[in-house]
Symmetry: C2
């Protein structure tokens, strides 16, 4: 749990970097053998790429770093509950464990809208922990959208 | 329906290219205003990237071509039922319609294992058609794995 908070703080750092670039503040780190092997934040607007979510970008970096598409033994930390694409990418990558901060009732696929980690038929099922530093992860998002509305 | 077969044949062409590179033969094209704007085939092994499925690579190309992450008005043709990651990427891209060939009981998320296009809570729902040139799409995969087993 203490370790989970330590790594989640690193994911939050990434999320804050997203906010400075006017991107929805979601951040992610991937950890293997007690070391961060990939860090990323949401770049959907700056890249104009629908797939440029924090988790996808971190998975791409981790595959590159480990020179394999199989991220066995890795734990992924992300500030917001993964969407269907990212939950699916985590399954496809064989990531062992996922830790997320805030819940996403409008798209979260690890418990909120549906739970892809418990759907039948796949050949890999990551374990997961939710709600780590939830308050901090969630306030980042709330504050971002509050500022956006002010500007609008 | 005739048009669907025409575009699916182009997706099959991509799938066949995957097979020649020893990749699981899955191909995809994205069509807008009666023109192909992106073509791709599965490159998971050659790129050693878990996210390098045909649909993801085609979506990346389409976003680059249209200079936007919003693929509104686009139809995606793919030879195999999308996995959770690809079904999710289709939702995230706001793709309007999806046409797939073969069904995937071991991971398909547009009807087989679950149906993400009918899950609650998302902000976009693509329409879809399934089973177009199913036999041809499915034989490609069967033949590929038969050859693989022979070599093993």
């Amino acid at each position: 749990m203490l370790n989970d908070e330590k790594w989640m703080k690193q994911a939050i750092k990434q999320a804050k970097m997203a906010a400075t670039k006017d991107e929805v503040p979601i951040g992610c780190v991937i950890v293997k053998d007690d070391k961060i092997i990939a860090r990323a934040y949401n770049k959907r607007e700056m890249n104009q790429q629908s797939i440029a979510h924090a988790e996808i970008l971190a998975i791409q970096k981790a595959c590159k770093k480990l020179k394999t598409w199989r991220l066995e033994g890795c734990t992924l930390y992300v500030t917001l509950e993964p969407c269907p694409m990212c939950a699916g990418a985590i399954i496809q990558s064989r990531i062992e464990h996922v830790v997320y901060g805030a819940y996403d009732p409008k798209g979260g696929c690890v418990g909120s809208c549906t739970n892809l980690f418990e759907a039948k038929g796949f050949n890999h099922y990551p374990s997961y922990t939710s709600g780590i530093l939830e308050e901090e992860c969630s306030s980042l998002l709330k504050e971002f959208f509050k500022q956006k509305r002010k500007k609008a």
